[in-house]
């Protein structure tokens, strides 16, 4: 065909009738935030991190509400007990620990609980003979809760009556007879409540060891030892309670001794704990050296950290945005002076700021507000400089000039036209303040620069520094706070990375 000379009749008018207009878009426009959200959801690791953060948040929020323990509950007997969870006991999360013991140690741990048909030794993992001394060495699996066994307590008359009443009602024995004229074979343990039964054979005390064991090395306990030796007052009747000199006298086992304020009792601590607190002790993360529940302390520490971090990031957001906007928008001499101020504030190392604030303010407003001020004093600089950069980039663009020509005020130009460009970096920056505050706070409390314990609070850093002391013997005190803070940091960094990518429009469609 000859394209140069097309005949006229081949041409047809397109749409001679009707208007010609652009086709209306069928699809919905995707806004900046919606787009960011869509791309954030695609990033699997960031979503996982967000879920972890949410779980940690909920942990901090809910645990103090539902936990049967209190932060200032300091149980003198359940000190440094190991993590125990009824749900996960099959995972080895059962509050037991392997430990190596001599014969005497084995006898001691084994005897705890014999009285009520149990034992602190859950399993004998290994027995061996020490080649030098010829003594037996046991590798035992010991329950750290049962290890407490019996204790002596002093109660008032009312408590004693309630306790007796409780025993009769439930049939659970709490009060156990008092060993009279009690002597022990074990040099190390002379005064504990845990040696009701003696070994059947009396041997010399000095060796600290008894010889009466069966062929497997198990100690042979004698139930009626005291009766045989005529050391107590008669029949062992677990639910019958008498006080010496109170009744038939001389014929009964001693269950309580009267003293000035009330009664001196020997109780099975496990059941006594249940009587006092209404539940058995099960510490999911164990307890620390003061007998505080680590699970709850951690939740409280996390609460404090989160609260502080969120407050700091919100305040810093406000200060940073306003400061950065003013700096970036006006520029010139204003910028120069304000930059010098940030230079100076930025030049002081944070630890010094925190220390000075603690020294000056902690007594007046309390350590936490003092810490908050320290974080606020220099924390906004990062956001301010981000905002400032964005302003320098956008303030001379045509659309801003156009808006100014149309008479928009400075305020409107700043917040309506320029500021939204910086939203992405600001949100990312604000979110990333949270882990840095949590980290700094844990560091300052760890180092003891900020001391929260005096005001009855706890923090992750304090728990870490407490745990470090007992690292060799009870690593669980350290493990959980360290795990918590590591998990939090990893999750927040992943989350922050995801946010940064999602808010960066230039990456749009890069991975698709």
């Amino acid at each position: 065909m000859d394209y140069n000379n097309l005949p006229k009749d081949k041409f047809v008018f397109a749409k001679r009738e009707g208007k010609i207009a652009d086709k209306k878009l069928d699809t919905k426009p995707v806004g900046y935030l919606r787009d960011a959200w869509r791309r954030f959801r695609k990033n699997k690791s960031s979503v996982a991190a967000a879920v972890i953060i949410l779980i940690l948040f909920l942990f901090a929020l809910i645990v103090p509400l539902v936990s049967p323990y209190k932060v200032d509950d300091r149980d003198g007997y359940y000190k440094m007990v190991l993590p125990k969870s009824e749900l996960f006991s099959w995972l080895g999360w059962d509050g037991c620990k392997e430990q190596r013991e001599s014969q005497a140690g084995y006898d001691y741990y084994n005897s705890i609980g014999q009285e009520y048909g149990s034992s602190a030794v859950k399993e004998i993992r290994k027995t061996e003979k020490d080649s030098h001394t010829g003594r037996m060495l046991y590798t035992l699996y010991v329950d750290s809760y049962e290890k407490v066994g019996f204790t002596y307590v002093d109660v008032t008359k009312e408590e004693y009556d309630a306790l007796k009443d409780y025993q009769n009602r439930t049939g659970i024995q709490v009060i156990y007879p008092m060993p009279a004229n009690y002597k022990t074979n074990f040099v190390a343990v002379t005064n504990g409540a845990n040696l009701w039964y003696r070994l059947a054979d009396e041997t010399d005390k000095s060796a600290g060891e008894t010889k009466n064991h069966d062929e497997n090395g198990n100690p042979i306990y004698e139930a009626d030892y005291l009766m045989k030796k005529n050391l107590t007052y008669g029949q062992y009747d677990s639910l019958r309670m008498d006080i010496p000199g109170d009744g038939e006298g001389g014929l009964h086992v001693v269950y309580a001794v009267k003293n000035q304020t009330g009664y001196h009792l020997r109780v099975l601590y496990k059941e006594y704990y249940n009587f006092v607190n209404g539940h058995y002790a099960t510490h999911v993360f164990g307890t620390n050296q003061h007998g505080q529940d680590i699970f709850l302390c951690l939740a409280f520490g996390a609460r404090l950290s989160f609260l502080l971090a969120i407050c700091v990031s919100i305040i810093n957001l406000f200060i940073g945005v306003i400061y950065g906007s003013v700096e970036g928008y006006y520029g010139g001499a204003t910028d120069l002076i304000m930059e010098r101020i940030t230079d100076i504030l930025d030049g002081v190392p944070f630890i010094i700021v925190a220390t000075l604030f603690q020294m000056h303010l902690a007594k007046k407003v309390g350590p936490v507000p003092a810490l908050l001020f320290a974080f606020v004093l220099t924390g906004w600089i990062g956001i301010a400089s981000r905002v400032r950069t964005q302003f320098y980039r956008f303030k001379n663009q045509e659309y801003v000039l156009a808006a100014r020509t149309l008479g928009a005020s400075d305020k409107r130009l700043i917040f309506r036209h320029i500021f939204p460009n910086a939203i992405g970096t600001i949100i990312t920056g604000t979110v990333l303040i949270i882990p840095s505050v949590v980290y700094s706070e844990s560091m300052l409390t760890y180092l003891g620069i900020v001391n929260l314990e005096t005001s009855g609070m706890t923090s992750v850093g304090t728990m870490l520094s407490n745990g470090q002391t007992y690292m060799s013997t009870d690593p669980h005190i350290l493990l959980f706070p360290a795990l918590f803070i590591s998990l939090l940091m990893i999750a927040f960094n992943l989350f922050g990375n995801g946010l940064r990518d999602a808010f960066n429009p230039s990456l749009r469609g890069a991975d698709e």
Partner: protein, 327 residues
């Protein structure tokens, strides 16, 4: 260029003096520790304080302080020993400067070892990840870096101490004492290793991430394509063209780290019992020894300012294309 450098240095000193003045005044506003405490001679403490000028107005004290610092030949006149005051609560009546001088080498040596391990490893991992970008090797390295960067350094210290010191007993629990080992002896090095490990994990990760980001950006450049086109092998192109350009931002980073080692790590020093200035600083806070606190505050401030300045300026020295101070 020179003009710009001088201007920046002068500005830095102005900033430093403003901060120093603020800190001095804030510290001097604090109440002094109780003179009656700890069974010391009450009158002696008061007399010493009077002699050290504690009862003068704060600004007078400030002037005296700087005069002492810059007075030559004070002390036992072995050259210039700045008089930073005497220890009041700890190292009583010892010159603060002497104590710091004695402690500083430990901090520097530990950090120097750690950075000497960290730099080559960090660069190596970073280059490897950049060259294998978006392959599984890169993903492994990047994920590891992500995890290592996030976890706080003291958690590494706990892990290292628990597994390498308690469980396996490869290393002693704390750093060898000064009486038994000199600073550069093997025994000292061995006992410092746990601390060095805990310090270098984070640095390695940061360097790896930075190197990977910079190098992979450089690798996409057109001039690298040209280098390959004109016949260079891949290795030649990477070492002669890509690495040199990637080093422009990496080197200042390393330089900054190098100066930063002076300030050390407060937590790691505490955990491993390194007798460095970080520990000294914490003790000075807990015991409220203001002379030590002030001297160390000035020291830390100066270090952070110098590190920032050197990092900034080094860009201009490394890359002639960057003109410092140009509008």
């Amino acid at each position: 260029m020179l003009k710009y450098v001088i201007k920046r240095i002068l500005l830095m000193f102005v900033t430093f003096f403003v901060i120093a003045t603020m800190c001095f005044i804030l510290v001097k506003l604090l109440p002094l520790p109780n003179a009656k405490a700890q069974g010391r001679d009450y009158n002696l403490v008061l007399e010493r304080r009077e002699k050290m000028g504690y009862n003068k107005p704060i600004l007078t004290q400030y002037v005296i302080y700087w005069k002492n610092v810059f007075s030559f030949g004070s002390g036992d006149s072995k050259g210039w020993t700045p008089d930073l005051g005497l220890g009041e609560q700890m190292y009583i009546s010892q010159n603060v400067y002497d104590v710091i001088k004695e402690k500083l080498p430990y901090t520097i040596v530990v950090n120097l070892y750690s950075i000497m391990i960290a730099i080559p490893l960090g660069l190596l991992f970073g280059i490897y990840a950049a060259l294998r970008k978006n392959k599984w090797q890169d993903h492994v390295v990047s994920t590891a870096v992500m995890l290592v960067v996030s976890v706080p350094s003291y958690v590494y210290a706990f892990l290292v101490q628990y597994f390498m010191c308690y469980k396996t007993r490869w290393f002693p629990l704390t750093v060898a004492s000064r009486e038994t080992a000199t600073l550069f002896s093997f025994e000292m090095f061995k006992s410092m290793l746990p601390a060095i490990f805990s310090l270098c994990f984070g640095t390695i990760a940061v360097l790896t991430r930075f190197t990977r980001a910079e190098l992979s950006e450089v690798l996409t450049g057109d001039y690298l394509l040209l280098a390959r086109t004109k016949g260079l092998t891949k290795n030649q192109a990477i070492t002669r063209h890509a690495m040199r350009n990637a080093m422009v931002p990496i080197f200042p980073q390393i330089l900054g780290e190098f100066i930063g080692i002076l300030s050390g790590s407060l937590i790691i020093e505490g955990i491993f019992g390194i007798p460095g200035i970080g520990k000294l600083y914490i003790t000075s806070i807990n015991l409220r020894d203001y002379n030590f606190f002030m001297a160390l505050t000035f020291f830390y401030t100066l270090i952070s300012l110098v590190a920032g300045l050197v990092t900034d300026l080094s860009y201009g020295f490394i890359d002639p294309r960057i003109k410092m101070g140009a509008r």
